[in-house]
């Protein structure tokens, strides 16, 4: 019983300390976020994934160690 009262008291205190965001002046979105999203999409489309760099590095090492493999690689391209 006492525990329940304490729980309710803490919850009430919490609401007094941190009121719901519905009362905030900026509770609703004030601007269109699509331009920011578009920038994020464009940045990513320009970036080369790390895996592609790893494959390229492996290819360079392979060619350096085994130059005779170059015609084979060219054949498979």
């Amino acid at each position: 019983m006492k525990d329940n009262q304490e729980q309710e008291r803490i919850q009430s205190l919490l609401k007094q300390a941190l009121p719901p965001t519905g009362a905030q002046p900026r509770a609703s979105l004030q601007r269109d976020l699509w331009p920011a999203m578009r920038r994020r999409l464009d940045q990513h489309s320009l970036a080369v994934p790390w895996f592609d760099w790893a494959v390229l590095a492996a290819l360079v090492v392979c060619v350096a160690l085994f130059p005779r493999a170059i015609p084979v690689l060219l054949y498979h391209l």
Binding site: K15, Q16, A17, P19, G22, R26, W34, M37, L41
Partner: protein, 179 residues
């Protein structure tokens, strides 16, 4: 009020990776996603950033989306995870924003100092407990909605709220405050 569910064609195109369909979904749902995130992070500027991060995750996960299911519910789940990640990355006791709302009716029996101590104690809660307490106690969202957004049962939400309140009481007692 939740945004209307988009047409199944738009959802199918989005799932197939169509950027125009993604833009249409973004424009339709950005406001709702922002408001949900704001309830959790309580800072409009941070909520905007986390909204963009949420839609970035949505865009990356487009192939995993099932067009026969609710886009709004799926977006809310991803938004909750993004907001949780933000809270985890935050330093405990980060300064609260200046434009926090004031309660409509201030209880004269509760001093400003007590409110501040409570807000600080709340900032020290683990993020998972903080989200549950924010949505259930402060924002008064239905337990079922919170459970769906967190991907746990309603019973688990109630348990987290109970633990959060118990931890707040303990924290206040350690500061010599008898709530």
């Amino acid at each position: 009020m939740p945004a209307l569910e988009p047409a199944i064609d738009v959802l199918r195109q989005f799932s197939a990776g169509n950027v125009d369909a993604f833009e249409s979904l973004f424009r339709q749902h950005q406001g709702e996603v922002y408001r949900w995130i704001l309830r959790i992070v309580r800072d409009p500027a941070v909520a905007e950033d986390v909204t963009v991060e949420t839609f970035w995750r949505i865009h990356r996960a487009h192939a995993r989306f099932d067009p026969s299911r609710s886009f709004g519910a799926w977006a809310r789940r991803i938004a909750t995870n993004a907001a949780l990640d933000h809270l985890k990355s935050e330093r405990p006791e980060t300064e609260l924003p200046d434009d926090l709302p004031q309660p409509a009716l201030l209880d004269p029996g509760i001093s400003q100092e007590l409110r501040d101590k409570m807000a600080q104690a709340f900032g020290r809660l683990p993020p998972k407990l903080r989200i549950a307490a924010t949505l259930a106690v402060i924002e008064e969202q239905p337990y079922q909605e919170i459970a769906a957004a967190l991907g746990i049962s309603a019973g688990a939400v109630k348990l987290r709220v109970f633990r959060a309140v118990r931890q707040l009481r303990k924290d206040l007692k350690q500061q010599g405050i008898e709530p």
